[in-house]
């Protein structure tokens, strides 16, 4: 049985990979039918494998560690491509493959007729592979492979409509921002290796006790940078709203259900290290809380249906971080799961809406759709209620658990932040619902004529997700802190409830949370159903705040101004430096050679040559005069001979006398 499980574990990532390869190499040879069947079929099979593995784990309660092959090795470093399947992984596996499967199926309908149909499924399958590696890896490097792999696939899928400038830019932005996080993650990996001489989770966690608190803080913060990048937390969240340029199933799968939760998974996975560092935990919690509130406020005023959902995703991820930061790891994972259900549901429903409206995404141009696309409407509503945190739907249980944990563990400030965030969430989600499905239709006629309910292949997955959103919370997390999930995850994250709290307090907190959500709903109902002008009045009243929110606190502009532009400008400066100074030095040496040679030539011409020639010229002048002696007259010569003779005689006589 164990062998079979190992085989299944190995098969889980391979199946989508094979499908991707097949589609990639042969996709142009066969029909779209074949392509999408391969795609969702492989994911479905993976899902089945995951279930069987899950069953095995459930039965035996032991974690599986499977080595596929030795990957990088040499010296004291060995990195295997190996899988670790423990309960946490199992949960993630089920979510990833399950939701992934549903979304694949949905995509068949949604993407029907798109030009790059096969390409889409290749990317999706590759994404599944990467995501599975991410959650299944038994060491940090395999995690990192998946980590970067999902980033790449996210890049590819955001840039799916690559001929759109905004899509291309969003894709690049997503990748680069993620890379910043990845750099931090890499540093964390190095720190871990330097401290533990290994990168396997089990070995690292076994020796974690040796770690000094400072080092733990450093590792944890580096890990956090990675998580922040991937999970779109402050300050690296800006890529996620832009990522909505991708097709909607992508937004659902990657930017809501799975990839963005990788950060949470990573923190939970490394909770042992985080636990050693209260500072790091504080930071995680406040980043989470801050993001939850911050994103929620932006979500209040956005008009693009997918952007609202995107900000809500950011916000919900903030809750998960908050959960991690206060040690409520199970709650965080719980929220991760429920969020996967309802956010996928919401996105896919939104996709259905967009599909129905032939691509319209602006909610100010929608309205009154509840009659025209009833199924979509109903499912969307379920999702809204779930995210708003109204019992007994899924969102309530998980979110409430986090908030309760904060309260009971004396993080009152965080609790307050979370509560405000919950209120805002409820408000903007219902605002979204009202604007989309209620009131008068603001559609243009052309679009209105084509409004239609989505096909079964799209609605089917929606229904499944709707069901999960309805009951998922109750099934998994009831009663709070002691639900099935908590027991299942206990071997990994440890038991959360060290100090018992009274049921009264729990009940009170649940009631408070419910009422917050209901108030939010009520306000939305008032503003967008009862008294529609109120929203505009308020918007004008607080126009400064409104504009700030509408422009997302100008964060993108800020980043552009303080980071991107200076970098580009400095790049230009460096380019100038390279061309003038460094290259200039080289050219300068050449110039020096030129000058040297000119100088040497000058010396050669005016000193060496001229010096010699002066001697020659002096000779020449002397000869010019002296040659007059050579008159050509014989008697002159004779006279000279005679004179010479006399001279000789004189000389001889002189010497004789001496």
């Amino acid at each position: 049985m164990s062998d079979l499980t190992d085989l299944f574990i190995k098969l889980i990532p391979i199946l989508p990979l094979l499908a991707a390869i097949a589609n990639g190499l042969l996709g142009s040879r066969y029909s779209h039918e074949m392509a999408h069947r391969l795609a969702w079929g492989s994911v479905g099979l993976s899902f089945l494998c995951a279930i069987s593995v899950f069953a095995d784990i459930l039965r035996t309660g032991t974690a599986h560690e499977v080595v596929a092959y030795q990957w990088i090795f040499g010296g004291d470093l060995t990195i295997n491509l190996a899988y670790l399947v423990d309960p946490l992984t199992c949960v993630m596996l089920l979510v990833v493959t399950g939701v992934g499967f549903l979304i694949h199926v949905y995509s068949v309908g949604y993407m029907h007729g798109e030009p790059g149909f096969t390409r889409f499924f290749i990317y999706m399958n590759l994404f599944m592979v990467s995501m599975l590696l991410l959650v299944m890896g038994n060491n940090y490097v395999v995690l990192f492979i998946g980590w970067e792999g999902v980033g790449l696939c996210s890049y590819l899928l955001i840039g799916y409509y690559y001929d759109k400038v905004s899509a291309a830019k969003a894709a690049t932005k997503a990748f680069v921002v993620n890379r910043i996080g990845d750099a931090g993650f890499l540093l964390a990996i190095f720190l871990i290796f330097v401290n533990f001489k290994t990168l396997d989770y089990t070995k690292v966690f076994a020796q974690v006790g040796q770690l000094s608190p400072e080092m733990a803080t450093a590792i944890a913060l580096c890990l956090l940078i990675g998580a922040v990048g991937k999970s779109a937390q402050l300050p690296l969240y800006t890529w996620l709203p832009d990522a909505m340029e991708g097709p909607t199933p992508v937004s659902a799968l990657i930017h809501a259900a799975t990839m963005v939760t990788a950060g949470v998974y990573m923190i939970v996975r490394n909770h042992v290290i985080f636990d050693l560092s209260p500072t790091a935990m504080e930071v995680v919690a406040f980043i989470g809380g801050g993001t939850a509130l911050f994103a929620a406020t932006i979500g209040l005023v956005q008009t693009d249906i997918k952007r609202v959902l995107a900000y809500s995703t950011v916000s919900q991820l903030g809750y998960m971080f908050l959960g991690c930061g206060i040690g409520a790891y199970t709650a965080a994972v719980f929220h991760l799961m429920t969020h996967a259900f309802f956010k996928a549901l919401l996105f896919l429903s939104a996709g259905s809406v967009i599909h129905a409206l032939s691509g319209e995404q602006d909610i100010t141009k929608m309205g009154g759709l509840s009659k025209k696309i009833p199924w979509t409407y109903r499912l969307f509503l379920i999702g809204t209620i779930a995210i708003a945190g109204i019992p007994p739907l899924a969102g309530f249980w998980s979110k409430d658990e986090i908030m309760a944990h904060a309260f009971t563990h004396n993080h009152f400030l965080l609790y307050g932040i979370a509560a405000i965030g919950a209120f805002l969430t409820s408000f903007y989600m219902f605002r979204l619902t009202y604007l989309t499905f209620y009131g008068k239709s603001r559609l243009d006629h052309h679009t209105e004529a084509h409004v239609h309910e989505s096909p079964l292949v799209m609605i089917g997955p929606l229904v499944a997700l709707g069901f999960l959103s309805l009951v998922g919370g109750l099934l998994l997390g009831f009663p709070p802190e002691h639900g099935w999930l908590h027991q299942f995850l206990a071997p990994v994250v440890g038991s959360a409830g060290e100090h018992e709290v009274s049921t009264e307090l729990v009940s009170t907190l649940m009631a408070v949370a419910t009422s917050i959500a209901v108030i939010g709903w009520g306000l939305a109902h008032f503003m967008y159903q009862v008294s529609t002008p109120t929203a505009n009045v308020w918007a004008e009243k607080f126009s400064g705040a409104y504009k700030t929110l509408l422009n997302k606190y100008y964060v993108d502009e800020l980043y552009d101004a303080i980071i991107v532009e200076p970098i580009k400008r400095l790049g230009g400066l460096l380019d100038w430096f390279d061309r003038t100074v460094i290259d200039g030095l080289v050219r300068g040496v050449g110039q020096l050679t030129d000058w040297g040679s000119a100088g040497s030539t000058w010396v050669e011409k005016y000193i060496v040559y001229a010096g010699l020639n002066v001697i020659g010229y002096g000779n020449h002048l002397a000869a010019h005069e002296g040659r007059k002696v050579q008159s050509g007259m014989v008697h002159h010569y004779v006279a000279l001979i005679v004179a010479g003779l006399f001279l000789l005689a004189l000389v001889v006589q002189f010497f004789v006398q001496m």
Binding site: Q70, L77, I145, D163, V194
Partner: protein
């Protein structure tokens, strides 16, 4: 059977001289197609021989294999000594592989003086091979210098740019300037050996042989001097920031084939690994050297990446990205630990696929648009999806995405650097971010978005020959990325030996008490 047949077969000599003999054969042909076919045949044969060497190479061993040694100038201790170990054997394969691709690439992109071009190319292959397989410093230097000649002509005669004469001369002079200093360094090594040998009354008085030089301890101050002299040679060739200015010029102005070889085969850093580190372990470990060189490497990483960010020309961008990658390699080398060295070595090989591959891509783009300027591109993915795909794959390898070869090398380098001093790694990691930024930004502007104005409407996607190049490169990239163990296994033994040598140093290892150890 095969082993019996091949025992004693001088395979390295064959590898070394096959291309140059081939070049002579080419001389006899007149027909251009015949020339191309023969060049391809020769390079393929060469590749086959190299693959044979790779297959027969005993991995996990530090020993020199396939050694051949003939006394050349015994009086000066110069010998014709060939051999490969884990450090160099991969380069042999890489050189042969790239040569095949370059010939394929040049098939229809080089239209004039085809014969001469192919001859130069083959000559270049021989000299490059020579650099990798020489175990005698003079022999090494011979090939090192001879390489300049075909390079010069390749850049000068077949370059595309208007400044190609300048670029060719700059390249050659720059490299020569470094190498003459290296020559002095080599001479000093020899003198040192002589000194040592005459004190110990050994038979061989002079030697340029790497293996013999390794046995002689070198005083610390002398080591430092020799190190910097050799550094000049290798750093100029590599090129290491700030000695890089010839590279953008040469790559911009030269033909793609030359650029592939220049950027793909990291001779300078190979030199460090082959000669500087083992011969001068104490100098290489001295604080000053490590700090200076690594800081230069770090500067190169950031500077190159930063420069690449703002380059509108793809080839210039690649040149700076090369500089950035070389920074990684240098940092890895001078981390002086196992991961750093291994990573550097692997990265050198990787760049042979990724950077060279990007140059091929640049060539593909050039042959379509007659330019590699950004202004000539925009939204090309619409028209040449395959090209865009391979562009992306190779590009991602160059920025070190996991799953591609780039990651394995870069990861090891960073790990090694971090192990050596944490801030080495911390600074180098920034290069990872910039790498993604400059590549993706360029890719976005060139390939994505709406179709650019300057882009020709009738543009064909990859031809068969281009497909062959792109697919084979991508295959190698993914192979090393996903299953690098054959490569790692080959290099492990030698890297381990190198690390051991660095740990012990020459002086201590040989038990000489005359000089102090470096640190």
């Amino acid at each position: 059977m095969l082993e019996e047949l091949t025992a004693g077969f001088p395979v390295l000599t064959c590898i070394l001289f096959l291309p140059v003999l081939g070049a002579i054969v080419l001389w006899l042909f007149e027909d251009e197609d015949m020339v191309r076919t023969s060049a391809l045949t020769i390079t393929l044969l060469e590749l086959a021989l190299s693959v044979f060497v790779l297959l027969r190479f005993v991995p996990e061993s530090a020993a020199m294999q396939f050694t051949e040694r003939v006394r050349w100038i015994p009086a000066l201790g110069i010998s014709y000594h060939l051999g490969v170990d884990g450090i160099s054997v991969l380069f042999v394969g890489l050189t042969a592989f790239l040569s095949v691709l370059v010939v394929i690439y040049s098939w229809d992109t080089i239209r004039h003086q085809v014969k001469l071009y192919m001859m130069c190319l083959l000559a270049l292959e021989t000299t490059t091979m020579g650099v990798f397989v020489s175990l005698d410093l003079i022999l090494f230097f011979v090939f090192w210098e001879l390489m300049l000649i075909p390079s010069y002509f390749l850049i000068k005669l077949w370059g595309g740019g208007a400044e190609r004469h300048y670029a060719a001369l700059k390249f050659v002079l720059y490299t020569l300037l470094g190498s003459v200093f290296m020559l002095v360094g080599i001479a000093l090594l020899n003198i040192n050996f002589h000194q040592w040998a005459s004190l110990h009354h050994t038979d061989q008085s002079y030697s340029f042989d790497l293996l013999e030089l390794l046995s002689a301890p070198i005083p610390m101050d002398q080591q430092i001097l020799i190190f910097w002299l050799m550094f000049m040679g290798f750093a100029f060739k590599a090129p290491i920031f700030p000695f890089h200015t010839w590279l953008p010029d040469a790559l911009m102005e030269g033909p793609i084939g030359m650029a592939v070889v220049l950027a793909g085969l990291k001779l300078g850093t190979f030199g460090f690994m082959r000669f500087s580190l083992p011969l001068l372990p104490d100098a290489s470990q001295s604080d000053m050297v490590v700090t200076v060189v690594v800081v230069l490497g770090l500067c190169a990483i950031l500077y190159g990446a930063w420069m690449a960010l703002v380059q509108p020309d793809f080839r210039r961008l690649l040149a700076y990205s090369s500089i950035s990658h070389l920074g990684f390699i240098v940092v890895g080398l001078f981390s002086l630990n196992y991961q750093g060295l291994q990573g550097s070595l692997l990265t050198m090989i990787n760049l042979g696929f990724s950077t060279a591959g990007l140059f091929f891509i640049a060539g593909f783009l050039y042959s379509r648009q007659q330019s590699t300027q950004l202004s000539a591109f925009g939204g090309m993915a619409k028209q040449v999806p395959l090209l865009a795909t391979f562009f992306l794959i190779i590009g991602l390898a160059s920025i070190g995405l996991p799953g591609t070869n780039g990651f394995v090398g870069e990861f090891l380098i960073l790990l090694g650097a971090f192990k050596a001093k944490w801030w080495f790694g911390a600074v180098a990691v920034l290069g990872v971010i910039f790498g993604a930024a400059y590549f993706l930004w360029y890719y976005e502007r060139a390939m994505l978005g709406p179709v650019g104005k300057a882009v020709k409407q009738t543009m064909s996607d990859l031809q068969l020959r281009e497909m062959v190049i792109a697919v084979s490169l991508s295959a190698m990239i993914l192979w090393i990325g996903l299953y690098p163990s054959p490569f790692l296994r080959i290099m492990n033994g030698s890297v381990q030996a190198l690390v051991d040598r660095l740990n012990h140093g020459t002086v201590a290892a040989l038990g000489s008490s005359t000089t102090e150890k470096g640190r």
